[in-house]
Subunit: 307 residues, 3 copies
Amino acid sequence: MAKLSQKDVLRADQFTAADIDLILERAATYEAALDAKRELDELRGKILATLFFEPSTRTRLSFEAAMHRLGGRVLSVSEAKSTSASKGESLHDTIRTVHGYADAIVLRHPEIGAAEIAALATTKPVLNAGDGAGEHPTQSLLDLYTIRNEQGKVDGLTVALVGDLKHGRTVHSLATLLSRFSVSFLFVSPSGLRMPREVVERVQTRGVAFQETDDLGRALREADVVYMTRIQRERFADPAEYDRVKDAYVLTRAALAKAKPSITVMHPLPRVNEIATDVDALPGAAYFRQSANGVPIRMALLALLLS
Amino acid sequence: MAKLSQKDVLRADQFTAADIDLILERAATYEAALDAKRELDELRGKILATLFFEPSTRTRLSFEAAMHRLGGRVLSVSEAKSTSASKGESLHDTIRTVHGYADAIVLRHPEIGAAEIAALATTKPVLNAGDGAGEHPTQSLLDLYTIRNEQGKVDGLTVALVGDLKHGRTVHSLATLLSRFSVSFLFVSPSGLRMPREVVERVQTRGVAFQETDDLGRALREADVVYMTRIQRERFADPAEYDRVKDAYVLTRAALAKAKPSITVMHPLPRVNEIATDVDALPGAAYFRQSANGVPIRMALLALLLS
Amino acid sequence: MAKLSQKDVLRADQFTAADIDLILERAATYEAALDAKRELDELRGKILATLFFEPSTRTRLSFEAAMHRLGGRVLSVSEAKSTSASKGESLHDTIRTVHGYADAIVLRHPEIGAAEIAALATTKPVLNAGDGAGEHPTQSLLDLYTIRNEQGKVDGLTVALVGDLKHGRTVHSLATLLSRFSVSFLFVSPSGLRMPREVVERVQTRGVAFQETDDLGRALREADVVYMTRIQRERFADPAEYDRVKDAYVLTRAALAKAKPSITVMHPLPRVNEIATDVDALPGAAYFRQSANGVPIRMALLALLLS
């Protein structure tokens, strides 16, 4: 039986090339089954615990839907903070306890490294659903899967990552994962929110071409994929600076008129106003398909880890 | 396969006569199956998302029980407010996202019209579980089903709606739905909390007889069905006025002694003190059966919309 | 079909000897099935409602895992306080309503006696998952099961109950349940937190030997089982008194060096610092196995009450 190289899903860069192939291929199989409304039963009798120490309804529902679609069961904790942890229990103890109830654990936690601590506390699979400013590897996998689905390939593409590249966990992980492929990057951000040097160096080490710019218009003319993220007012020391840049990072239908007709528009959601709603109807507006792709990707991960 | 005339359940007045027949008949079949402890599997492999932007444990559990009783699965969000919406996401975007995870969506929302917005955002069925002061159509259907079960018919009955008729979403929807039948209404309320003119006009348009009164005692002597609702102190500008009327709208065993022996007593629950607890043991005290009827009614709706 | 002597699980002392045999034996069967990853289906088509009026994620998940492991379904209310109760509904009415949705009800409530009230409101099984300072009978059963599993027997053992014996619901119920066996007790606590007289008298009435002491070191030399509980700062009128005793009730590897090699260390969890983490690796450190035993014990109870 095909297996992943590790028992857990903790970081976007943990996957071997074989892992990635296996996951994307399996996800495609499951997507076809979902489309055909074929019922699956591979994880019948298995229990997944979703432990969310901070709310993320989208990610929680996506994991839970994936488990249900495979016939498994779910124990759901959306308010984990208000529980034993508040009585002073360590994360290690919480995980060792949940180990006794479930066959795999999805963890969302506000602190970097929480998923690694959890993985050491149990022999059962731990899936990192976001650990603070750290990693969100299943998001990166569904982003990669979406790019391949929308563009039919990954190698050869020019991918623009846009917005707050400094604080965005999503774009850090995605840049890392995509740098395993023959892509070119456009890092598009206000000057104060540029991609962190360690991510840039990782990309460089792997020989991937990249350019940095604050000009979204220029990026749109070159990109095959544009990945929008939100710029939050609170990231700016000077509110006037925020007001100056915010409109420059809103994707409109007019701006897209100058892009390649085949451009794919992505966003990790939720969006506030980074993409005008009249973009939604364009064929390349992939963000809701992207979010739906979370289900087959997470089905693939759960099945590969559990069956 | 029998089908409802619309893909969604949004308003009490959307149903055709054929829809109502279909729903009540199907609910009766399911109630018999539940009583016989027969296991059903029609929605095996299907997922229902229950999105509650305000708490309503009773309604949520009733929908979830209905889905489980048909073999389906549930994604449950009882704290929807604390999620993506709080990050500024529109309801439209939330629904388009959940569309990717589930086969049908139950929505409870504090704003009138929320369910209509949701229904436009997805091709999948949306079931309105209450939109602010707007509609709560599945409640009206289970009320109708209860009346027919308890009295053996609907046509020819005199139905007293009692309490705060001005603000009560439940009684507005029920009056609308019942006015399709040959019933007579007694609208019983303090003068400041009378049935809104638009509801009265809708009833009149359909040629249904009604009387308005503030005299519960008189209504009890004539009614076949008495439907109690709560009068909240905060609805009165003058607290003294509340104190003056509140006891007049409490249903007691003594008051019921003057009613028809076959009277059916209903209440949408939760009750505070509108019905004295010693009424519970009377054969006509139907409110807990009414609440239990939420399960077969919602099973019928889910099955008709999804299978 | 084997049955328990009552329809509900309300108090640790309600069980007959036959009940206890039946529960422990059934739990052992289920534990073997879980170890062998054998899928069970006995409660297929049944619904369990878990109603938590105060949070207890551990207990809730353990009951829900038990129900899922038997093929049943779950309605989960982890925020019961914020619901109908807050609108003024009585517990009796809440339970009569949930009676219409589920086949059994697990109740956690902050008030003593709540489970008894619930049991009177429904003909369906009610399982007390903790009622304030009252009872937590399923915890006592899993504690008993753990002692038997770890030591191979119960009769003849010396059991030390340690910590805040005055306020600890868990140790009251366990002392009551164990006093049906031929055990000896060591009640180990600071002088202000001694075992309540009514529990001591109940133990005496049953002819069970016990000693009271504040010396954990001495207890460790004699005990076959040491059951640690937490001492909370807020239980002390004088904070200086807390600071004086707190370190004396921390179980360390050094302290255990003087214990019997076969000693079993238990704790109801969550632990804060009552047991040093380097104790976890000792073979007798049973607290995580104890917590996992909650699943087969609750499977046994649910199956015996529902099938």
